[in-house]
């Protein structure tokens, strides 16, 4: 019978684990439904999780974006240092946007909420969300220190036993361009933690639990064992890689040396460029988050995120390098560099498990923060009209890298997990007109499998009045690289319609009568393009994604006038390669 009792207990712990993941998923869904910032509700730039009393993450919502993953996981420990468990009361909510205690820039708010069961604190709920405006310069690389980048919220109580901290909210409202949205978002973050806590209490009652600790141990043991088993399937050794970002003042080199050991994977970032004077620096928690994500996609994609499943991935980030920015370096657009980290990790892993990684992609999101009105054009420009004040950001992506057996995804976010907003919705919240937003032909890197195709956007205001972009773009001077003889994806371009080339980073004004043209990079190819199935090349030509000239020059595929594969000619030119 005792065997049966143990077996039943094991099954019940599995059920409880499953339930816990459902609880944090509910927490995330509530945030999406109630948030005010488009970044959360439309784009999904958020994260939610439950933690044990030692600040170890037990479960995390599947919904959300990787940048917040272990950065939020680390964050709860910082909260507990300032506000120990025994000082927490029901109805308390704690908040910060400290880039070094949270998720890497001031625009991300992290809220932590204790959960009480029968009067006893049993766990903590945390969530992170990217808000639209936090004051300061606004989203962009121009700050020379974090103090210029916006309001800095140390870890404080925003609700004390259910009562809002009005002094705190006064500061928030006064310091933001979008006070209603900011306040609404903070309320929404707190409400979603409350909902998680309520659900947890119901779960503990149903399963007659008095503490989360035994369940935490079970989750950690199972996850750790499973992660080690997956690591064991990767050939031992040390693998190296490098990747370049366009940087702000000069190109940035990211270098990694990855060692696969029996019980862990260690990455050393020695050889990485030094700090920048502008906001593209990466706080270490964010570097760990995206590096870890890149490794996990390849090594253990099916194991849920928690303290134990993330523990075997260790990062050694040298002091003074751009991936270990110390306070108060500017970090506002740390994602521009951070999003390249999964490509860097896959560059290393390609040497170990080539059949499991992708070629490099556009990777860094192309989010144009757009601003117009008085803040750009002054109160008056003589008799010239000025566009109404607006401040928006849209989330857009180039192509992803080709996969071993599949083409890359066209204009799709990776590694970030965000979604873009409808053009019609964007045009309803700001006086902008997107004149063009479509796939860009010949931008996907040629290969046996093709890189995902990038896109072109043409942006103006109503009446073509002056506006500004705070550029945070990359992969313009350094195109995504292919693997196994696959070719590069097309590099990005940032220009004015009149022809002028713009800088990839920094605040720039698009004058009256002109438009902003963004050409987002394509993903790189994988494998020799002349081994690609000619029928797929013909399909791409017919669809206008690959030109007939490139079909012939890069893929060695000849087409008939009807755009079918010209078999004899294709055989002939492929033989002569």
């Amino acid at each position: 019978m005792s065997h049966e009792t143990n077996a039943l207990a094991q099954i019940h712990r599995q059920i409880m684990w499953n339930r816990l993941i459902a609880v944090v998923e509910e927490q995330a869904q509530i945030m999406i439904r109630t948030a005010f910032s488009t970044t959360v509700r439309e784009a999904g730039d958020l994260s939610a999780g439950i933690f044990d009393l030692d600040g170890r993450m037990m479960a995390q919502a599947v919904t959300g974006t990787p940048g917040h993953v272990n950065s939020m996981a680390e964050s709860v420990g910082h909260f507990l240092q300032k506000f120990p468990i025994n000082t927490m009361r029901p109805g308390d909510h704690y908040i910060t946007n400290d880039p070094w205690l949270g998720t890497g820039h001031l625009h991300d708010l992290t809220v932590v909420t204790p959960a009480f069961h029968r009067g006893v604190i049993v766990g903590l709920f945390a969530n992170t969300a990217h808000v639209i405006d936090i004051g300061g310069l606004g989203m962009g690389p121009e700050g020379r220190s974090v103090f210029e980048e916006g309001m800095y919220i140390p870890i404080v109580k925003c609700f004390d036993q259910g009562k809002p901290n009005e002094t705190f909210f006064d500061f928030m409202r006064a310091g933001s361009r979008l006070p209603v949205e900011l306040e609404g978002d903070i309320y929404s973050l707190c409400a979603c933690n409350d909902a998680g806590a309520r659900r947890l209490v119901e779960m503990m009652d149903e399963f007659e639990m008095t503490s989360l600790q035994p369940l935490a141990q079970f989750i950690f043991d199972s996850s750790y064992r499973a992660t080690l088993a997956e690591i064991a399937r990767i050939p031992r050794g040390t693998y190296t890689g490098e990747i370049y970002s366009d940087g702000y003042e000069e190109p940035v080199r990211l270098a990694a040396s990855m060692e696969i050991l029996e019980d862990r994977i260690e990455v050393d970032f020695a050889g990485t460029s030094g700090l920048s004077s502008r906001g593209i620096n990466v706080p270490p928690a964010y570097c760990r988050a995206y590096s870890c994500f890149g490794i996990k996609c390849v090594v253990a994609p099916e194991i849920p995120n928690n303290w134990a499943s993330l523990a075997p991935f260790r990062m050694k980030i040298p002091e003074g390098c751009i991936l270990n920015a110390p306070r108060p370096y500017p970090v506002s657009v740390r994602h521009v560099i951070g999003h390249l980290l999964p490509d860097l990790m896959m560059g290393c892993l390609h040497q170990a498990v080539p059949e499991r990684v992708t070629a490099e992609g556009a990777s860094a999101l192309w989010n144009p923060p757009l601003r117009g009105g008085g803040a750009v054009s002054g109160q008056s420009r003589g008799n010239k009209p000025v566009i109404a004040d607006f401040e928006i950001i849209t989330f857009n992506s180039g192509g992803t890298g080709a996969r071993p057996t599949l083409d890359g995804l066209n204009a799709t976010a990776f590694p970030s997990g965000v979604r873009t907003m409808p053009v019609e919705a964007t045009e309803n919240v700001a006086p902008v007109i997107l004149w063009r937003k479509e796939l860009k032909p010949d931008s996907g890197g040629a290969g046996r499998t093709r890189g995902g195709v990038g896109q072109i956007m043409e942006i103006a205001t109503k009446g073509d009045l002056e506006f500004a972009v705070n550029a945070t773009f990359d992969r313009v001077a350094h195109a995504p690289k292919g693997r196994e003889s696959g070719l590069e994806g097309a590099a990005g371009r940032v220009t004015q319609k009149s022809g002028k080339t713009l800088r990839t980073k920094g605040f720039q004004v698009i004058p009256d009568g002109d438009r902003l043209i963004l050409e987002l990079p394509g993903g790189a190819g994988m494998g020799d393009p002349t081994t690609r199935d000619p029928a797929l090349v013909a399909r791409d030509v017919r669809d206008g994604l690959v030109s007939a000239a490139n079909a012939r020059a890069l893929y060695k595929v000849a087409l008939t006038d009807a755009l079918a594969v010209d078999e004899p000619e294709t055989t002939r030119i492929r033989l002569h390669t």
Binding site: E4, Q14, I32, R33, V180, A195, V423, E427, D543
Partner: protein
């Protein structure tokens, strides 16, 4: 002779029919004939009128629902379709929201658009968000497309232009040109099919409508003429995904509104049961062979939504299908059915589904070559089925095969016996269904407190008690006739039509006159659609505004008064918004303005009131007599004990049964868990109550 009503539901495998005449119901099931579905219908028609003893001319109304439109999209068997769209936006339906539905899977596949890129044809034109023309339509560019459309043998054309839902002027002009040049090719306009903001959803819906239209129109006309030829001259009505009925003319124009009409019928079936039994707040739970569907029903009305995803490529994964923005009965579909296969993942966790053994080979216990353990195998191993009487004895279950599969795929990996592995599998599938139901309630701003679960489908009554316990429901109802539930649901559906339009306004600058004009317009459109089928029956109108705080992402429905609005109503509407918001999200946000995104007007015929059957004095209830006992393992405690087995056919109203027990019938088994008591009510439905 009393007049009769006939319902026909074409599913993937079976075509179900139900005929009612003077309170008497006849049902029939025939195989679906996918190549020419009307053949199956006509075969069923002949069968059922013979069985019911009615003449074709006695039938006053024929109601039809079908999965043909859905299947055409899933199997990519629709018309060769082109999309004419705003220059610069030909890839809207391919780019979607630029996201991946799975964060960690590097090898996901996104759904292919229904129109390939070379048939997505841009024309110069542009409106702004207020409908103002920024760039006039280049009519010469439209005309220049005609040779290509002819050369490519395009059979159907979708027109989707930016902001056309505000001002359809360019879409209508394109339609006029196409009518002139290509009179035989049907044209779907985004401003008519789905006049709402968000270009991806609107274009996707319009394209899907165009894609299924020629085939659906041909089919519906063939069916109509076959029925006429057979002497059935009654009007043919179509079941829509939103739960209302519509005329064949509307169905031919907007066939996309017919997707998922079968499941909608199931929800209406549940809603009717709820009305019969006076249950105000219900969770409909339909568990079949491959999926389970849950739907919230309040005030006898299934919850509705305005978006739906069809043809998901990542099985049941949100975001992996083609979005449709149409009125639908909102259901969550979970990859959990009797055929769902159990496995053990890398962390040693039992997982169930979404892979399914289907009907062929089916679960291991069917003995048709299925090697992997399915939920049915687990139920059998727990002792919940009598192997010789499953599905009315038509399938002899092989308990040994079930045990072997459970041991091999689950037990051996976790050190569990086959019986405990079975327990784990059933607990996990129940947990998965309960979790999905819980998240659904959260998303809908509803709770399970005080709700009754109505269980049907082959698996529903087996799993109902445990799922109810897990979501906190204390009452379960198992109706009869659940085998053809959707078809019966069709007979209960009102004739109705929903019109949705976007009109963006902020509350602080609310323009009452513009709203009144719009609502009036919408009312006449909906009434005109309903009039054709209501034959003067009384109708009822509901008006809803979809509102949110300025800047927020998700609108909530707010009921509007059915009248010409005055300035004084603004405060009332704001009050209702605050009420609804608090119901969904607890905390209102002080000092925020509210914006209205769109309006819906629904006109339907009135559903007849039904009196719940009277309850006898408790003194008259008697305990039912079991036919035998069977050893069953309880999934909560793991204990094995003899459970009493009852035959449903022999149960009379008002008998009671104390759990644990099982009531068997041909189509399913009703499990009465320990701690539950069952009673058969005056309608023959089994009511289960959890002991306090």
């Amino acid at each position: 002779m009393q007049s009769a009503r006939l319902a026909v539901d074409i599913g993937g495998t079976f075509t179900d029919l139900a005929l009612e005449q003077g309170g008497r119901r006849t049902t029939a099931k025939v195989l679906t004939t996918p190549a020419a579905p009307e053949q199956g219908v006509m075969e069923g028609f002949q069968t059922i009128i013979r069985a019911a003893g009615v003449a074709p001319s006695d039938i006053e109304l024929i109601i039809h629902g079908t999965t043909l439109a859905t299947n055409a999209v899933i199997e990519r068997k629709g018309a060769r379709t082109a999309l004419i769209t705003t220059e610069g936006f030909r890839d809207v339906i391919a780019m979607g929201n630029e996201s991946r539905y799975d964060q960690y899977d590097l090898n996901i596949v996104l759904p292919e658009p229904l129109v390939p890129r070379y048939l997505r044809l841009p024309v110069p034109e542009r409106l702004d968000n207020t409908g103002k023309v920024l760039r006039p339509l280049d009519e010469a560019a439209v005309l220049a497309l005609i040779p290509l459309l002819k050369q490519e043998n395009v059979e159907s054309i979708a027109v989707g232009l930016l902001h056309a839902f505000v001002n359809p002027v360019h879409e209508r002009r394109i339609q006029a040109i196409l009518r002139q040049e290509l009179p035989d090719v049907p044209v779907s306009l985004s401003s008519e099919v789905s006049p709402e903001m968000r270009e991806w959803e609107r274009f996707s819906t319009t394209v899907a409508n165009a894609y299924v239209q020629p085939m659906m129109a041909r089919y519906l006309r063939r069916l109509e003429s076959d029925l006429h030829a057979a002497g059935a001259t009654a009007p043919l009505f179509l079941m829509m995904s939103g739960g209302g009925l519509t005329t064949i003319e509307t169905a031919c124009r907007f066939p996309i509104r017919l997707v998922e009409s079968g499941p909608a019928g199931g929800a209406i079936f549940s809603a009717h049961i709820a009305r019969e039994c006076g249950l105000d707040s219900v969770l409909s739970f339909d568990m079949g062979g491959t999926t389970a569907k849950v739907c919230l029903i309040d005030g006898y009305k299934p919850q509705t939504a305005r978006t739906f995803e069809v043809a998901r490529v990542g099985r049941f994964r949100k975001g992996s299908g083609l979005p449709l923005r149409i009125p639908v009965i909102e259901m969550v579909e979970i990859g959990a059915g009797g055929g769902s296969i159990a496995h053990v993942d890398t962390m040693g966790r039992i997982g169930v589904g979404p892979e399914s053994a289907g009907a062929d080979p089916g679960p291991a216990c069917y003995g048709r070559g299925g090697m992997h353990p399915a939920v049915t195998d687990a139920n059998l191993s727990l002792g919940r089925y009598d192997p010789s009487r499953f599905a009315g004895g038509s399938i002899k279950l092989d308990a040994g095969a079930a045990r072997d599969a459970l041991l091999a795929d689950v037990g051996a990996k976790l050190g569990l016996t086959a019986e405990l592995a079975a327990l784990g599998v059933v607990e996990m599938v129940d947990e998965n269904m309960a979790n999905a139901a819980r998240v659904h309630a959260i998303e809908s701003g509803k709770t399970y407190e005080g709700r009754t679960l109505i269980a049907f489908g082959g698996g529903g009554p087996v799993h109902a008690c445990r799922v109810a316990e897990k979501v906190g429901i204390n009452r379960v109802l198992v109706p009869s006739g659940a085998g053809v539930g959707s078809a019966i649901g069709f007979l209960r559906a009102p004739v109705g039509y929903e019109v949705v339009r976007s009109l963006y306004q902020r509350f602080s600058t609310f323009d009452v006159a513009a709203v009144n004009d719009l609502l009036e317009d919408m009312r006449s459109e909906a009434e005109a659609a309903v009039e054709k089928g209501s034959f003067g029956a009384p109708t009822v109108e509901t008006r809803t505004a979809y509102m949110r705080y300025v800047g927020q992402g998700h609108e909530i429905p707010v009921p509007l008064p059915n009248q010409v609005l005055g300035v004084e109503d603004i405060a009332l509407i704001r009050e209702r918004y605050d009420e609804q918001y608090a119901r969904f999200f607890d905390r209102p946000v002080p000092g925020s303005d509210v914006e209205i995104m769109s309006y819906a007007v629904v006109v339907t015929t009135v559903t007849a009131e039904v009196e719940p059957p009277p309850r006898p004095d408790s003194l008259f209830t008697t305990e039912a007599t079991p036919v035998r006992t069977q050893l069953v393992r309880d999934t909560t405690t793991g204990a094995v004990s003899p459970w009493a087995i009852y035959d449903r056919a022999s149960l009379v109203p008002w008998v009671t049964i104390a759990g644990p027990a099982i009531v068997t019938e041909d189509e399913t088994s009703t499990l009465i868990g320990p701690g539950w008591t069952a009673m058969v009510n005056g309608l023959g439905y089994i009511e289960l109550t959890r002991d306090a």
